[in-house]
Structure formats: structure tokens, C-alpha cells
């Protein structure tokens, strides 16, 4: 199988501080990849480069065979909006919107009609065990519920790649595992590729494959999931 998304010899610095020094990684379609590493190793920077959020100083980022590091910001934005999904550690829900409107947001941003966007969003509530929470605001949800809503938002537009940056970092271990179960199940069901940044081996164990980022470089795969 060929890689759906790939980083080749990527370098990136924050001012004079190098974050990535020739990082390379390739992810196949439908694969769940865990990027691990200690704090400050560059794993989130690598995810941001892969997602087209940051433009590398050197090296290449390819998605479906096309370079995205050379695209204009507007093209990368529309790529992120239409082809990618995101789940972050916390604080990604727009506080004034209801849960269902938050889930529908990527669809609305893509121009889907409101009624249709809300209908598609509602379908995710039953699927993720969120029934009855549609009209709640983010402040009225528990951490686990908010993260499941965020997961629904990340997947509602049926993205090709879901980027998850420490998706359980703000949750207790039991809730974290519930969220990861849902994430993996939903991704496999949709055939979505998942790139998961975590520093917890327990969470990384949900992935098909793990890579370790140390000092801005990606080490060889340590393990392939069975």
C-alpha cells in the first residue's frame, strides 16, 4: 500500500530553536499511527507540519502524492477543512454553540446547508453515546463528553486523515480509554487514517504502529500492531 500522507526530511525551527531536524514518516491509508516522545521532542510540531498548519523550513510534506508544503495558505486551509479532521487536548468547542452545532460546524464551514449539517451531526450523538446532550453548551459537558463531541466534530465531515493531538491528555484514564475506543472504532468504520500524538504508551497501544520522536528526528518503528 502507498502512503496517504508523508513527511520527508522535514526541518522546522521556532526562531533559533530547532524543533524538527530531518524528520521523516509515512502513513498508509486507514492506518492508525501513534507519534510518541517526551515533552519538547517535536511530536506536536511534526503533526502540525503533516496537517499543513506549519510550513517546514526544509523537506517535503505529501498528501495523496501531492506536496502540501508548497501550497498557499488558503489551499492548505481548505485541505484541512475538507480532507482532514482534528481532535485536540481540550478547549476546541466554541463555547456559545450547542454541542450539536459544534459538531455541525465543519459541515457548515464547507457550505453544507444548515438542516442537513445538523441532521448529519445528530447521527453522531447516538453513535458516540451522547444522546440527550445535543443542546448542551461546552460548559455544561464533562471532560469526557466534551472530548467525544470534539471527536464527532473531527469525524463528521468524513475526513481522510484525523489528527489527534493528545486527545486524552485532559481526561482520567478510564474516560481516556472510552474516548480512544470510540475514536478507533469510528475511524476503522470510516476507513479514516489517524495520526495520534501522545506521550502515554497506554494510549499509543491503540495504534497500528508507533514512531518515537527524539530531538526532532523520527526513530524507526518500534512495533507493528498485530
Amino acid at each position: 500500500m502507498s502512503a496517504v500522507i508523508e513527511a520527508r526530511e522535514v526541518e522546522f525551527s521556532f526562531g533559533r530553536t530547532p524543533a524538527l531536524r530531518g524528520a521523516s514518516v509515512a502513513v498508509e491509508a486507514g492506518e492508525i499511527l501513534a507519534i510518541m516522545g517526551p515533552s519538547g521532542s517535536g511530536k506536536s510540531t511534526l503533526l502540525h507540519c503533516l496537517a499543513g498548519i506549519l510550513v517546514p523550513d526544509a523537506g517535503e510534506i505529501l498528501f495523496a502524492g501531492a506536496r502540501i508544503d508548497t501550497m498557499a495558505e488558503t489551499e492548505r486551509s481548505s485541505l484541512r477543512r475538507d480532507r482532514f479532521g482534528f481532535v485536540f487536548q481540550f478547549g476546541q468547542l466554541v463555547p456559545e454553540l450547542t454541542a450539536v452545532e459544534n459538531v455541525a460546524l465543519p459541515l457548515l464551514l464547507s457550505g453544507v446547508r444548515r438542516a442537513q449539517a445538523l441532521r448529519r451531526a445528530r447521527a453522531w450523538f447516538e453513535r458516540l453515546g451522547l444522546d440527550g446532550l445535543q443542546q448542551r453548551r461546552s460548559g455544561e459537558l464533562s471532560g469526557g463528553q466534551a472530548q467525544r463531541v470534539a471527536l464527532a466534530r473531527g469525524l463528521v465531515a468524513e475526513p481522510q486523515v484525523l489528527f489527534a493531538d493528545e486527545p486524552t491528555g485532559a481526561l482520567d484514564s478510564l474516560t481516556g480509554e472510552q474516548v480512544m475506543d470510540l475514536l478507533v472504532d469510528a475511524a476503522r468504520e470510516q476507513g479514516t487514517t489517524v495520526i495520534l500524538v501522545t506521550h502515554e504508551p497506554r494510549i499509543a497501544a491503540y495504534a497500528d504502529r508507533e514512531v518515537m520522536v527524539r530531538d526532532g528526528r523520527v526513530n524507526a518503528p518500534d512495533r507493528i500492531a498485530s
Binding site: 498548519i53 477543512r81 478547549g91 476546541q92 466554541v94 463555547p95 460546524l105 464551514l109 444548515r114 493531538d165
Partner: protein
């Protein structure tokens, strides 16, 4: 604690300094406006005091010899000339203010502005009205304004004693002749219209700074600072900024005092020295404003709880209820009630209208959050774009916060719309006659003492003036009924421009000026036939002379001069319809100018409040917004959210405030004057649009911040 708080405020880095500067700037503007208002009140009082010295009441007693005094009105080029005739009855008679000695018969003093006119125009247009020796200048002590046209003419006691309105005075009055409360009330409304947006700005800026200091306050709470100590820190910061702002406000006031004095807010400019501040005023502002800012800081912090984990809202605000509409509806109802029931006295009318207007003003501010919520809910229900949905939900969630920043704009626009609506309508109905019309060229003198006849030489002299088309004497109508006119004229003497008689009539009933009150002269007007014969007419006393001219200033002023010399005992000088009206209209236009200043100032301040509020909103939502942006939401969507959250309520509020203001003005005009509201001139709308554009510009200035605070670094959770 206070010293520590002060050190934090002034040495807290660039951000703390910026915050101080923003609050100080708001306070400086507010202080400047407050000082201008206080100085304006003092200046009006000074004007009134000097005005009173021009119209003294009769007085007796004391050792002083009486001074004969008569104050009359004359006009030149549409401007009012106050003419005072005086005659001392003995050596101890009081001397009028502003001159060194009472002029003797054949002498006069003139104000500087009148002297300029006397020098600039031919004698037969103005100078000949004051025959005799020019003794010098009337000083500021007798002038209500630097532009006042005043002449003090000496006469014999016999001559002056026979003039209209003549009285004997033993002291020159120094009590204001106009009720101060009216002026103070008007200035109070003006001050409210200006100061409310300033206070809102200070409050919003203080609340924003509380949110921005979240981390510092939270850290302080974590190490054991009590909520009270946090309040002290916030209050010290606000007070430090307010002290600096107050000082700058004083500087601004003194820097702009001269130009401000020149604006004819009361229809005429002030002397700069009149715009003075008393010790009490200075103390009130210098101590009151910093104290007020400290209180504002406390009040605004009451809404947020600084916990060791950061700033949190105390509670989710409860949705406003529909009962908030009651005061505004009640206010409109009061004005409608006044349409059917108009009290006869001025006090009674004030008692109806003032509460009505105040109820609407307060009611609009009170109803604002409910209207914002309803509007936002409707917007959210039908929103198909994500930006509209987010903006509408935010406004509907906390409509009080959304409305707070624009409440000042609403109040200011309501007050100014009422003022401009009323002024435009009155000026349109009572302003000077259109240039070129018969009215604009008609000079009328009404006799205080009826004359048995008018010498032919006078008619000859009038007809000799270039531009004079007709000169007619109006005699007294001996048969007065409720519907008849007070004058009669031979049909052969009635100039065609002023109407015609009925077929076969010889004498017609006419008004003293040959045109009806509030109507224009017309050649097609048919005047009723008088029940007087031509023979009887010749024996009736003359009550007025009407001279038709081509409307040129030269012809009018020469006619006026000839008539004044022929009949020097006039009370009000020979006048053109609109002399008095244009004077009145000029005063109103002065107020309109003030209204325009309020519109621009309040909208600019409202824009600043909105900008501060936008920054606060962005700070609160920087993480979800930046994560949305990372997920591919274009920045323009976020920009649209910010624009919709601030611009839509502002524009809606502006429309409501202007609509309600014009409605209130219409109801007032219908009930009080039977006028229908005349739409304000395009200038009004241009000023509103410029003000709103300024406001939007200030909001747009926050957009670069949006891009900065939603950058990728916010997404980092490590």
C-alpha cells in the same frame, strides 16, 4: 498592599502600560467633556447675568437718582441689535454696565461688533439710526457675547420716559432674567448624552483588564491573596490611570477652551474667560473622577470572580424578560397621551413631556438587552453561515454584555435625534422667508403710538430708495370681531404682490404686515371687504407701514433707517418676516451643532468601547477560535464573527434609537406646536454615517489582533 499594587500597575511590563494608557485616555476624554460641561454651565450663567443687566427691572429707593431706561430690538442684515436708551435724572444716577459714564442726549456708545458694522456700511443703512457723538466702546461687562450688537444711546429724561418699555432704575440688575433651571436641565441632558458613553468605556476597559490579568490574579490567589486584596490591586490600577487621565483631561480642556468658547451653543459664542471653573468644580472633578473610576473598577470586578484557577463568570446570566419593554412603551404612551391632552401652562407641558422623554431614554437602555436577545435568537434560528450562527449564539447567550458596549450609542443617538428632529421642523416652519420671495423683501413697522397720518414726504423718501416697490400705510380696523383682521386698507393702495380685494370692494381688512401669521404673502389672496367707507378710512389712525422691496440688503436697511428716523419710538425696529425667526433659527442651529458634536463623540467613544469589548471576547475565545482556524476555518469566518457580534447590534441599535428619537420628536411637535415632523437634512444622516463608519473603523482596528491571537502556537498543549 496599595504600594505593591501601584508597583504592579506602573511596572508590569508593556501590556500593563498599554492597559493604563487605554484607561487613562478614556478618563481624559471623559474629564475633558465633564470640565467643558461645567464651564459651559458657568459661561451660560455669566451670559444670563449680563443679559439681565441689559433688561433691568424697575427699581426705586436708596440715595441714587433714577435712570430712565428703555431696551428695544432693532435689526441689521438679520442680526439683532439691542438698543438701550438712557437718561440720567440726576448726578447720582447709576451708570449702565460696560461704559464709563451715562451718555448725555446726542451721545452713544457701541459694542465692538456693532462698531465694525457701522464702519463697514454706508451711513444711510445703519449709522443714521444713531445720530450724535460716538463716545466709545461698550465693554464686555454689558455684552452677553463677543458678537453682541449693542448700542447705548443717551437722551433727555422726557424723550426716554416716553419710549416703549421705559422704566426708572436706581440700580442695574444683576439677577439672571431667565430661569437657570431650564438651561441647567438642557446642559444636564447634554452632559448625560456625552458622559454615559465615557463611563461605559471606562467600565468596559476595566473589565477587560480584569480578564487580561487573569493569570496574575490567579497566581496571587494561589499564594493566598484574598479576593479583597485582588480588588485593591484592580482599584489602584484603575485609580492610577484615572489620576493620569484626569490631569490630561484638564490639559485638554484648557487647550481647547478658546475654540470651544467660539462655538455658538446658545446661539452666540462665549467669551473664553466665561468658560471658567470654580474651585468647587476643580475639586469635584479632580477628586471625583479618580474616585468614580475606582468605584467603576469595583463594580465591574463584581461580575467576575478571581479564583485561584483564573477568572470565571460568576453565573451564566439569566435571560432578560419582556417586562423590560414596559418603561419605553410607557414613555411612548405618555407622549401619545399628550397629543389628546395638552396642559395649558408651560410647567404643565414640561410635567408631561419631560417624564415621557426620560421614560423612553431609560426604557431604551433597560429594554436593550431584551431586544438584543430576541434579535439574536431570530438571527441564530435562521443562520445558515457558521459566522452568523456563532455571533448570534454569543449575543443571545449574554445579551447584556453584547448591549452594554453600545448602550451609550443608543442613548446619545436618541437624544440627538429628538433634538435634530425638533430643530429641523421648527426651523423649516419658522425660519427666514426664502430669498427672492415677497416676504423676504417686506419691511414692516408697527407703531407703538398710533399716528393720525403718514406724511407724503415719507412716502416720497421711501420710494426714492432704489429697490423699493411699494409703501403702504395700514389703518386700524374699527370693527374687530373674532375673525376680522386688525388693519384696513384702501383697495387702490393694496400692492398687487400682497393680494386683491373682492369685486366692487373699496376697503379691505388686512393684517398689519399684509400677510397672515405663518403664511406667505400671495398675489392671489382675496382679502375680506371691510365695513368701512373710503371717507371713514382716512380718519382712522395709522397702525403700521408696509414697504415692499426687491429683497436686497441695501434696500431693506435703507428703508429701515428711514422708518426709524421718522418714527423713533418703535418698540421693535422695522423688521422683515424672519428677522426674529432667523435669530431663533440661529440659536436652534447652535443646538443642532452641539447635537452633531455629541453624535460624533458618542459614536467614536462607542466604537472604542466596542473595540475593547471585542478584544475581551477574543481573549476569552482565543483557544477555540485558533483551533477552529487550524482545522481549516478561514480567518475571514472569524473576522465575520467579530464583525457581526459588534456591528450588527450597533447598527440595529442606531436604527432603533434614531427611529424612536424621531417618533418622540414627532409626537412632541404634534402635541406642542401642531407641526408635522420634517425629515432631518441629509447632513444629519451624513454625520451619522461618518460616525458609524468611524465606529466600524475602530472595530476593524482590532482585526489584526484576531489573526495574532489565533495563531498556531495557541494549539500547543504541551
Amino acid at each position: 498592599m496599595i504600594a505593591f499594587a501601584f508597583r504592579l500597575a506602573v511596572a508590569g511590563g508593556r501590556e500593563a502600560l498599554t492597559r493604563l494608557v487605554v484607561i487613562a485616555a478614556a478618563v481624559a476624554v471623559g474629564t475633558g467633556l465633564l470640565l467643558t460641561t461645567l464651564a459651559g454651565v458657568n459661561a451660560v450663567n455669566a451670559q444670563l447675568t449680563r443679559y439681565a443687566s441689559v433688561y433691568p427691572s424697575a427699581s426705586t429707593g436708596g440715595d441714587a437718582d433714577p435712570l430712565w431706561w428703555s431696551t428695544r430690538d432693532d435689526y441689521f442684515h438679520g442680526r439683532q441689535i439691542t438698543r438701550i436708551d438712557v437718561a440720567a435724572t440726576g448726578p447720582n444716577a447709576p451708570t449702565p454696565n460696560g461704559i464709563p459714564a451715562t451718555p448725555a442726549a446726542g451721545e452713544y456708545y457701541a459694542s465692538p461688533s456693532l462698531r465694525t458694522l457701522l464702519a463697514a456700511h454706508p451711513a444711510d443703512q445703519l449709522r443714521d439710526r444713531y445720530p450724535g457723538r460716538d463716545l466709545g466702546v461698550v465693554g464686555p461687562a454689558a455684552l452677553t457675547s463677543p458678537d453682541t450688537l449693542l448700542v447705548i444711546v443717551g437722551g433727555t429724561p422726557d424723550e426716554v420716559g416716553k419710549l416703549p418699555n421705559a422704566k426708572q432704575v436706581t440700580s442695574v440688575g444683576d439677577k439672571p432674567a431667565l430661569p437657570e433651571t431650564t438651561v441647567n436641565l438642557i446642559l444636564g441632558v447634554v452632559a448625560g448624552g456625552l458622559l454615559f458613553p465615557v463611563l461605559i468605556f471606562i467600565g468596559t476597559a476595566t473589565r477587560l483588564s480584569a480578564a487580561r490579568r487573569e493569570q496574575r490574579f490567579a497566581a496571587m490567589r494561589l499564594v493566598g491573596a484574598t479576593p479583597k486584596q485582588i480588588s485593591v490591586v484592580a482599584a489602584v490600577e484603575a485609580t492610577a490611570a484615572a489620576v493620569a487621565g484626569t490631569a490630561v483631561g484638564f490639559l485638554l480642556f484648557y487647550a481647547f477652551r478658546g475654540p470651544l468658547a467660539g462655538i455658538p451653543f446658545t446661539g452666540m459664542p462665549f467669551f473664553p474667560s466665561d468658560m471658567s471653573l470654580g474651585v468647587l468644580d476643580v475639586l469635584l472633578v479632580a477628586l471625583g473622577v479618580p474616585a468614580g473610576a475606582a468605584v467603576a473598577a469595583q463594580v465591574s470586578l463584581r461580575r467576575v470572580r478571581i479564583s485561584p484557577l483564573g477568572v470565571t463568570r460568576r453565573v451564566t446570566p439569566r435571560a432578560p424578560r419582556a417586562y423590560r419593554l414596559i418603561p419605553a412603551v410607557l414613555g411612548v404612551a405618555v407622549l401619545f397621551f399628550a397629543l389628546g391632552f395638552r396642559p395649558e401652562t408651560s410647567d404643565g407641558q414640561t410635567a408631561v413631556f419631560l417624564p415621557g422623554l426620560l421614560l423612553i431614554m431609560a426604557g431604551l437602555v433597560f429594554a436593550g438587552p431584551w431586544l438584543t436577545m430576541v434579535g439574536a435568537r431570530v438571527m441564530a434560528r435562521y443562520a445558515s453561515r457558521p459566522a452568523t450562527l456563532i455571533a448570534a449564539r454569543r449575543l443571545a447567550d449574554n445579551p447584556k454584555a453584547g448591549f452594554r458596549a453600545i448602550s451609550g450609542i443608543m442613548l446619545a443617538l436618541f437624544v440627538t435625534s429628538v433634538a435634530v428632529g425638533v430643530i429641523t421642523t421648527i426651523v423649516a416652519n419658522r425660519g427666514p422667508a426664502p430669498v427672492g420671495s415677497t416676504d423676504a423683501g417686506t419691511v414692516t413697522t408697527v407703531f407703538d403710538e398710533k399716528a393720525s397720518s403718514v406724511p407724503d414726504t415719507l412716502f416720497a423718501e421711501l420710494h426714492a430708495i432704489s429697490g423699493v416697490r411699494s409703501a403702504t400705510a395700514i389703518r386700524e380696523n374699527p370693527v374687530l370681531t373674532g375673525s376680522s383682521e386688525v388693519g384696513v386698507i384702501a383697495c387702490t393702495d393694496l400692492p398687487g404682490a400682497y393680494g386683491r380685494c373682492a369685486e366692487g370692494a373699496t376697503v379691505a381688512e388686512v393684517p398689519l404686515g399684509l400677510s397672515l401669521w405663518q403664511e406667505s404673502a400671495s398675489s392671489t389672496k382675496f382679502w375680506h371687504t371691510a365695513s368701512v367707507t373710503l371717507d371713514e378710512l382716512q380718519r382712522l389712525p395709522v397702525v403700521s407701514i408696509v414697504v415692499g422691496t426687491d429683497g436686497s440688503a441695501t434696500a431693506i436697511e435703507r428703508t429701515r433707517t428711514v422708518l426709524e428716523i421718522a418714527y423713533p419710538t418703535f418698540w421693535v425696529g422695522p423688521n422683515v418676516p424672519g428677522d426674529f425667526e432667523s435669530d431663533f433659527a440661529n440659536t436652534l442651529r447652535g443646538w443642532e451643532q452641539l447635537a452633531n458634536v455629541i453624535i460624533i463623540a458618542s459614536l467614536a467613544l462607542g466604537g472604542c468601547s466596542l473595540a475593547v469589548s471585542v478584544i475581551g471576547g477574543l481573549t476569552e475565545r482565543r483557544r477555540p477560535f485558533s483551533l477552529l482556524r487550524l482545522s481549516g476555518a478561514p480567518v475571514r469566518v472569524l473576522r465575520r464573527v467579530v464583525a457581526l457580534e459588534s456591528a450588527v447590534p450597533m447598527l440595529a441599535v442606531a436604527a432603533i434609537a434614531i427611529g424612536m428619537g424621531l417618533l418622540a420628536a414627532h409626537l412632541f411637535l404634534r402635541a406642542q406646536m401642531d407641526y408635522t415632523l420634517v425629515a432631518p437634512e441629509p447632513r444629519f444622516y451624513v454625520i451619522i454615517v461618518v460616525g458609524l463608519a468611524t465606529c466600524l473603523g475602530v472595530i476593524a482596528a482590532t482585526m489584526p489582533l484576531l489573526e495574532r491571537v489565533t495563531g498556531p502556537e495557541t494549539a500547543r498543549s504541551e
